[in-house]
Symmetry: C2
Subunit: 204 residues, 2 copies
Amino acid sequence: MKEITALLYHDFTALDALGPLEVLGRLPGYEIRYASLSGGPVCNEKGLTVETEALGSLGRSDILLVPGGMGSRKLALDGDFLAALRRAALESAVVMMVCTGSALAAAAGLLDGLRATGNKRAFDWTMSMGEKVLWQRDARWTRDGKFYTAAGVSAGIDMALGFVADHFGRERALSIAEGMEYCWNEKPEAGWCFKEHGKIGKMK
Amino acid sequence: MKEITALLYHDFTALDALGPLEVLGRLPGYEIRYASLSGGPVCNEKGLTVETEALGSLGRSDILLVPGGMGSRKLALDGDFLAALRRAALESAVVMMVCTGSALAAAAGLLDGLRATGNKRAFDWTMSMGEKVLWQRDARWTRDGKFYTAAGVSAGIDMALGFVADHFGRERALSIAEGMEYCWNEKPEAGWCFKEHGKIGKMK
């Protein structure tokens, strides 16, 4: 069994984690673990309390997933959290970050010299967390080596489907998207689309 | 403060609940409560354990949200659950169902004579739960009176944005979608779209 670890924290954004997990949880042979730095209950931005295991008590992950959320502002300055994130990420075969999750990875020094993106509404702050990161302001999601990053919230679903396409083929990604009745934004460079409303193109 | 109640149960689909809640949680003046029939921890299909309050201990809701999931198969035959769902739904100003959540509402007799939809991959079973429901096999989401229903998983996000448009205007819905970097499928009758892949049109 391969292990997916979602690294949660107080005031994370639920959909940042549970969107990608809905995709990844449909892969046969993978199981999901919900972790936090210390373990125990973690409450998200909207009062959702989730049980977690302590990150240090889990073995290495095949996929490590780091969501964004308001709580990331504080954690980006927390040396203990960043050290644990760095260790877990270096051990993991694949690392995925959504929204301001990529600010945490940048603060942990994981993204230096790599292409990455993040939430468009918090992009300047995110960039300030890693001056050596090759930030892609217009990207919907990115892949550089084992590191995947996504822009805001629902872009994480597109990124996770991109991972499936990379590792299991495009047909598998399309099949999972169909099972979720999700309209996949397949192109990572498509920063933002509002085709229905005539607002095609990049988000500012 | 207006109250949104998510009615969870064992083996619910996380994204069915947390997709719409990501939309609704961005409305000012609303707060979210996580409930189950008996209260206490509830574990979803993918090992996510969430704390809940007992539905009966909460007052009436402004919005009641019922996700789908494998657990709905058993609950559709559970008289106690259906009676509690019926009572909570009748008291609530608006009721939203995602995926096989609409099978539960149908089994509770809430949708007789109304237009409704559900997950395309479980549609025949869903229809069998309510012979007097005006099932819309091709719809992505529906509204009939105070009852909103959505097809599978991510269609719930489109439905919740549709609710926002109905009650707060289309600009508010677009603004929330933009904040989530979500490409809204605005048209309820659009059953399924895979525009990127040349598969535009209804899902079979």
